[in-house]
Symmetry: C2
Subunit: 232 residues, 2 copies
């Protein structure tokens, strides 16, 4: 974890600025920029851990991080990957002020730490910003609802197919991609075991639905994969 406190460029006014800051005045942006800190995390490092006090909202301005809920034992559910312009920690504001999930870098990741109190201050002073925040939280809330369906109803084939489609469509924006995620990570995204994930990936490969070697994946029959995800 490298602290570049003197580098005030930050994601508040860089090209990776989250759209939720669009409603801010120049003064407000400057204020946030003043108090924010850029921090770089290396792959594998934990950005924050579930259960710890929520002191900062974190903006991602480079790299990628996995957002996961820790369960009993070593089990975890990876809910999504955070990419530049994504934000974490907003869902603790005015709630119990704890992190309800952990965030860990899967590659070198640039983050901006903004004190929650500053966020609060601006929410109270700028209603348009507050309204934007409400929209932002509601969107993630609704995303969670659709995840519920994935996680509770689909068979394992469907869940793995879902993970592949998520990676292609929403993370790598390409049907061919090389990922840094391990098989265990992909299992944690699909709520299943490492072994089952491997077996299903192989099955998909045998049926020429996907192709892969090691961490390089290629989706060959996307429509079919989509149907497996939907009806599986």
């Amino acid at each position: 974890m490298t602290d570049n406190a003197n580098d005030k460029v930050s994601c508040i006014c860089c090209k990776f600025m989250s759209p939720i800051f669009n409603n801010l005045s120049k003064q407000e942006l400057n204020y946030l920029r003043e108090i924010s800190h850029e921090v770089v995390f290396q792959a594998g490092e934990i950005i924050f851990k579930q259960g710890t006090p929520l002191t900062h909202v974190i903006c991602i301005s480079g790299g990628a991080a996995k957002l996961y809920v820790e369960l009993s034992g070593k089990k975890k559910i990876i809910l999504r990957l955070l990419l530049p312009t994504d934000i974490a920690g907003v869902s603790g504001i005015n709630s119990d002020h704890k992190h309800h999930f952990s965030l860990s870098a899967i590659e070198t990741t640039n983050t901006c730490f903004i004190e929650v109190s500053a966020f609060k201050k601006i929410i109270r002073e700028n209603p348009a910003f507050a309204y934007g925040i409400i929209g932002y939280i509601n969107n993630s809330h609704n995303r969670l609802y659709s995840k519920l369906k994935n996680f509770t109803q689909k068979n394992t084939n469907g869940k793995v197919a879902d993970t592949l489609l998520y990676l292609a469509n929403e993370v790598y924006n390409n049907d061919t991609f090389a990922t840094l995620l391990s098989r265990q990570d992909m299992a944690d995204m699909s709520i299943t075991t490492r072994e089952s994930t491997i077996r299903i990936l192989k099955e998909f490969k045998d049926q020429h639905i996907i192709d892969f070697s090691e961490k390089h994946f290629e989706i060959l029959q996307k429509e079919l994969l989509r149907r497996i995800s939907q009806f599986g």
Copy 2:
């Protein structure tokens, strides 16, 4: 569905007023009261349906309603029961303006319909209210996170135990209760089938963990039930 439009008592200033309205001025409360409508639903009637446009925020001022996500086929997940002072629909504001779940009355239920536009107006004018709303949404967001754990990791015994504890602790506030929910409803809350729910309830009864006949339940060994819920 009985419309008592002329009855302006409503939940905005009644004893079932949701705490989220605490930050409102007298004028704002009056404004909301002016434009809100009280509507009474009978058991089994749908208050709103998943996918329909979100036009009103709905406050519950009497009775009880089940909040559920509809899945393919007849399947559904009942996420929680809404009771007086609960609110529904807030999580669609400034998002896609659709309902992401359905709400249906399980007994005669009094509701207050407040236009979303009025909600928006006040959010934009009263930052303290906006801040309160953010806290409210975040709390339900976080509740959903803990549900994830229940739904994806526990065995069926654990999930049914969880449902029983939820009903006793959070709905009926009593270890002995008579419910209006059917076995199917209890299964939909536990993400399992009617048959499995019945088998497990019977098993709990045989082990003297609970007792029941028909819709009347009594929790005999709460601590044990809690352990089943936790480690199941």
